[in-house]
Symmetry: C2
Subunit: 218 residues, 2 copies
């Protein structure tokens, strides 16, 4: 059994892990708004519990047990987010903080019954896939808006940044999951885009383009 703090570290390491490259101490510290020395300590603890492999001065990587644990937490987090939006009238920008707390509640039956109650959803309110009971999920084939060229079209399938500010910005411009968009122009000098949404043309910065996932349509 892991503490809440251990679970939060595991989740962060999992999110930072790309392929086989080790995750660095500073990356974790930055993401968690904590200090590198605190991270070092926790990495030793996680390694001691066989949840992570930790090579001093090199970095860390979750073990299989660690990955399984991360998937369980992510499953809980995302199912609770669906619950909040579908059953309790929350908007997609309000659910993250509460799910951060609910994801640590321990009960397998609770989460499996919740899954059933929600009709076994496969994506959360931000377009992220929900692992099933066994920890499996299909990676959605989506692409960052910033990778597209003039004339490309698609539907928004997810967001990377799930902060209140970003989601409220999207709401303000009537852009959300499922919105159809077309790349009208791309400013090379600042990597910004002009996109056509259902209602209007919208000028979006590189930062925003990086945080939107689309599935392209031909």
């Amino acid at each position: 059994m892991q503490t809440v703090s251990e679970e939060n570290y595991i989740k962060t390491i999992h999110h930072l892990q790309k392929g086989e490259v080790l995750v660095s101490t500073n990356e974790i510290a930055d993401k968690m708004n904590t200090k590198a020395s605190s991270v070092t300590e926790m990495l030793k603890r996680l390694a001691g519990k066989n949840l992570a492999d930790y090579i001093p001065y090199k970095g860390t990587k979750l073990t299989q047990t660690g990955v399984d644990c991360a998937n369980k937490i992510i499953r809980k987090h995302r199912l609770w987010e669906v619950f909040l939006v579908e059953k309790l009238n929350f908007t997609w920008d309000e659910v993250h903080e509460i799910a951060e707390q609910l994801e640590h509640v321990q009960s397998t039956k609770l989460i499996d019954e919740l899954d059933k109650h929600l009709g076994f959803p496969r994506i959360d309110p931000h377009g992220d896939p929900i692992p099933d009971k066994a920890g499996n999920y299909q990676e959605v084939t989506q692409i960052q808006l910033s990778k597209l060229k003039k004339g490309d079209r698609g539907k928004i399938t997810g967001v990377i940044d799930t902060s209140k500010e970003f989601l409220k910005y999207l709401d303000k411009h009537n852009v959300g999951l499922g919105s159809a968009v077309e790349i009208m122009d791309r400013e090379e000098f600042d990597q910004s885009f002009i996109i056509k949404t259902e209602l209007k043309a919208l000028h979006i910065s590189q930062h925003i383009a990086n945080n939107l996932y689309l599935k392209t349509t031909i």
Copy 2:
């Protein structure tokens, strides 16, 4: 804002408080399966935060702020219990432990929306009243079965002990909230009772009679 541990102490003190009498350190320690020395320390902390009045060697009592806090936690605990039974197919003996965790999730909107989602229930699966948004609730006029005399009748409205073991015992004999019972006989030498339930006659110990609440019918 209180820590989870502080909240658990507040809830315990509230449950032990009868009238104006101070709650003793040992009572709290017993109820929480902790040591008296740990309780003393926490009482100082709670007093420092103005959640309890603490008189060394005499005992403690929640302040009004403490009582309000207790009612909020109890409201959350009981609403989650209703949710688990009504929406997620849990039985009344399974919900307590999970509600012990869920009661600490912080979000006023969450709990008010949950209340609405459940149709503003006034009692939880064990017959205990649920405080409303303002912290008010009607005390149910109920009496312990052990206080009744031969010939009295009533309906079960609540249980005091909410342990798995006790609730499963009741289930086994088809006794639950709303069950009609009649006192057939009372053994003075061991304070046990023979009661008539919907299905059969049942011999119950003093301990069980103490843990059942009834509303009598004429």
